[in-house]
Symmetry: C2
Subunit: 224 residues, 2 copies
Amino acid sequence: MSIDQSARRGIPEVTVARLPEYLRALRGFAEQGTTSISSEDLAAATGVRSAKVRKDLSQLGSYGVRGVGYDVDHLAYQISLALGQTHDWPVAIVGMGNLGRALAAYRGFATKGFRIVALLDQNELLHGERIAGLVVRPVTDLPELVLEGLAIGVIATPADSAQDVSDRLVDAGVRSILNFAPTMLTVPDGVVVRKVDLSTELQILAFHEQRKVEPPTHLQEARA
Amino acid sequence: MSIDQSARRGIPEVTVARLPEYLRALRGFAEQGTTSISSEDLAAATGVRSAKVRKDLSQLGSYGVRGVGYDVDHLAYQISLALGQTHDWPVAIVGMGNLGRALAAYRGFATKGFRIVALLDQNELLHGERIAGLVVRPVTDLPELVLEGLAIGVIATPADSAQDVSDRLVDAGVRSILNFAPTMLTVPDGVVVRKVDLSTELQILAFHEQRKVEPPTHLQEARA
DNA sequence: ACGTCCTTGTGAAGAGATGCACAAAGTCAC
DNA sequence: GTGACTTTGTGCATCTCTTCACAAGGACGT
């Protein structure tokens, strides 16, 4: 897994995955005027143990003050620095189906430092259409977009064209991909892929749901 | 974390999370006529190590044949059995914004045994509107839906109403929740929550992207 | 029927993440 | 200044997940 490589000598991947949660919680505290916060309170707000919070934060450096806690603003700044939120990341969304359109219209990205700079689709019929203030363009525009700074590509196509789109993204120079298509992507070393699969999440829930209905399956069989 | 509880004495959570991937790969192999598959090939198709595949599958039982491999159809059946895909799971989506509408229109759920039975929103103005063949209903209909078998709730509301919706789901008797709102939900024991956060995923990508641009930050500082 | 070959299933080792518990280090009241 | 108090940062034990490596088991050709 190419993600693990970049964690080598760096911050553990599990910690990185929690940093956005801490950051969100901190922003919340800052909004309601809290200026200082203990690891215990931050843990409560994010649903983890306080020791884990402290260990995670210590990966970034020693930004806490013993006996007091962490300065909310300063810690938020340090985390956003680590996450690269200090500058804007241009993002392109490929695939203008239902999901692609929803992502294009989603307001939550802008505040996190992501700017959707292009909407692409392989279907010519969509080219030129206006969605969320942007004109849909062909995927052949990708090299041009990378020259303009594009770094992150979001794949919101059906499964069967996802690998093709992925190849085009990689060829154009994109090295970070968020994949919503229900398929595994093959990419060269150095390219990081994260996958979000709605069906998978529901299937995991279904597994647990099923467990609740008939918990002691083995025992029941043994009883027969 | 309530999810870990159900993993106690059962299949490890990490394994459960990989089962849908195996199942998807198996369906693909079945479609192209492959009847038998080795752990090595299944590993290649899903991007994991073969030993991991074998250990994961051995959690379900001994369905492989030494020297030969696994029967594709039988293994797919066993996994779908473990995941509870043998019967349909009624799903309700709460929050008919962009994302909620996209989810309502998503065709991928049906083939995985999920049936979207209701679309709900707290905004009265939307009630009665038709989306993807379903009429939008008020969240107060939840108890009724649970009586009709509703088991899984999807939260696609803005962050500020997510906890309220979550409480209503739980009160109505829903014990499995998929949360797309960028906020932590507090639920009683026995309720399983999975969270999908689009911004978080992008932030993790941005972290890795940043690493690539300026790998040896500390060394640069030391040099100064 | 026998031996060769192949792949599973799994103990054991290794790597990684989590949780505990406490010394270290700072604040604050007086 | 001093001491009581609070909370961090972290070494260590524990737990979980992964990887290795190989014996056990079964198919298949001869």
